[in-house]
């Protein structure tokens, strides 16, 4: 690990300003992704701004009947929040399907959204990787790509966004709230938060340098059965090959987003009208134009079957 200086500011504006004025600085929250990457020298900040002193760790009701989740709320606390369990079950389920109890105790809402890809070549600093080292090439395209994206990828990068929580946030139409280095706030719809790689795969999100996430808000609850189904290589403690976050009614109508298949949580609202017709009608549209590799073409069938299982669960 490269050496770094460390500070722990006490206000969001101060934290954002500290990172905005130093291109080598990074925020650190739970540290469970950043420190992992720093040990491998994939991330090499020379200054860390610890955001754990900022508060931002409560879940509050909003005026329009939704919830405002502080950026520092731990994954365990969010999953266990009585309002989330009752009204946003898909979010509790997605969180509980991710990582381990120890990690969820540390991982934060903002850090979870910003976790980086688990592409094996991104992690292996001896390999070319456009996301880690822009312009170096992509080892995955002709390499082992079983876990990687089937849609939304580019010639430059076929990595997936690996997380679970954000897939639920996507089906819930969450909004990300931020403050920048000048103290100015803005909101970003979750659909616009994670970027597709295009020819700049090193940029994961639409956040500006130094922009601090302060909260994630959820609109008022959507009725229906809240389901998160995650298919992985073992029953626990593994990333998704495919996941489905869905809110479904008995007639099959509702909303659905997919994880493990693309550089961001993947949802096509226009296909949701077809949900009562069954899984295939929906996945044919959601994955139209997919460009799987030989290794990961199975994910298309798996996505259809996982949605089918969710529909069966909702109808039961």
């Amino acid at each position: 690990m490269k050496s770094f200086t460390y500070e722990r500011p006490t206000s969001p504006a101060e934290a954002a300003a500290a990172v905005a004025r130093n291109p080598d600085a990074k925020f650190i929250a739970g540290g469970t992704n950043l420190l992992d990457l720093m040990k491998l020298q994939i991330e090499t900040p020379s200054h860390l701004v610890d955001v754990n002193g900022l508060g931002l760790d409560t879940v509050e009701a909003t005026q329009d009947g939704g919830l405002r989740i502080g950026a520092l709320v731990r994954n365990t606390d969010l999953a266990a929040d009585a309002r989330v369990r009752k009204d946003y079950g898909v979010l509790s389920r997605a969180l509980l399907a991710g990582a381990s109890g120890q990690l969820r105790n540390k991982a934060t809402t903002a850090g979870n959204l910003l976790q980086r890809t688990r592409c094996p070549y991104f992690y292996d600093t001896a390999q070319a990787c456009n996301k880690r080292q822009p312009g170096s090439g992509c080892s995955a395209i002709d390499g082992v790509s079983r876990s990687l994206a089937v849609i939304g990828s580019s010639e430059a990068c076929i990595a997936t966004y690996p997380g679970d929580m954000a897939v639920a946030m996507r089906v819930l139409d969450a909004t990300v709230e931020t403050v920048d280095g000048k103290g100015k706030g803005r909101t970003i719809a979750i659909a616009d938060f994670h970027r597709l790689p295009g020819d700049r795969p090193e940029v994961d999100t639409t956040l500006k340098p130094g922009e601090l996430i302060t909260a994630v808000t959820l609109p008022k609850p959507v009725a229906g059965t809240h389901i998160y189904r995650k298919v992985r290589d073992r029953a626990s403690y593994a990333y998704a090959l495919v996941s489905v976050a869905a809110i479904l009614n008995k007639d099959g109508s509702g909303h659905v987003a997919f994880g493990g298949v693309a550089p961001r949580p993947w949802r096509l609202e226009a296909a949701e009208a077809d949900l009562p017709r069954g899984a295939k009608a929906v996945t044919d549209k959601v994955f139209a134009g997919a460009k799987p590799t030989q290794d990961n073409a199975f994910k298309l069938k798996l996505a259809e079957r996982t949605l089918s299982a969710a529909l069966t669960q909702a109808r039961a």
Partner: protein, 203 residues
């Protein structure tokens, strides 16, 4: 460097107060070590340390406090051998910096119990042979104690059927909740038996 001047090495006094903890060395960006002071309560004892900012909580315990019970397995949060209970919660001590834990209360395996004063979970692991080589055991035991606390506190898990109903320490719940602790010897079924016994005793 446009960055505001930072205090060289936060003093323990400053760190105790609400003043932001800061660390700085003359040469950020070159690979010169940067140190900072931090004070932690470890197994009930206040410890003052001056550490390289890169020091994980695990390395602080093992290398600086001679508490070698917590083990370094993968050093990437994947195996659970480094599990400690920090401010009442189990975490992977390899994936957190010691300087981020100013004022934290830390319990390691050494603090849970001692050879002549075993914690019930330690005694149950011995009784049920919840280990072979023993390397993962301190992490398993810290995790196991915290898991039973999480179930009592009503924190749900991936296998909890009804998110809004009370939780029980069933075998399925224990297995799922312990999945962050890997045992290469495969003592899992005995670990589940040990935890089940302690859960029963507590009920």
């Amino acid at each position: 460097m446009s960055r505001r001047e930072l205090v060289a090495g936060a003093t323990a006094a400053a760190a105790f107060s609400a003043v932001p903890l800061q660390a700085q060395a003359g040469n950020a960006g070159t690979d010169k070590p940067v140190t900072a002071k931090v004070s932690l309560t470890v197994n009930g004892q206040r410890r003052e340390l001056e550490l390289d900012t890169r020091t994980s909580l695990l390395d602080a315990a093992r290398e600086h406090l001679q508490l070698t019970g917590s083990k370094k397995g993968c050093d990437h949060g994947q195996c659970g051998a480094c599990t400690m209970i920090v401010d009442g919660r189990r975490i992977n001590s390899c994936l957190t910096l010691a300087v981020m834990h100013q004022g934290s209360e830390i319990t390691t395996i050494e603090g849970l119990g001692q050879p002549d004063n075993l914690h019930p979970m330690q005694a149950a692991f011995i009784k049920h042979d919840g280990y072979q080589c023993g390397y993962c055991t301190p992490g398993q035991i810290c995790s196991g104690v915290a898991v039973l606390g999480e179930i009592k506190a009503g924190i749900p898990s991936h296998v909890t059927a009804d998110l809004n109903a009370p939780m029980e320490a069933t075998v399925d719940e224990i297995r799922e909740r312990m999945s962050g602790n890997i045992c290469r010897c495969g003592a899992y079924s005995n670990i589940v038996e040990a935890m089940t016994e302690v859960a029963g005793r507590q009920a």
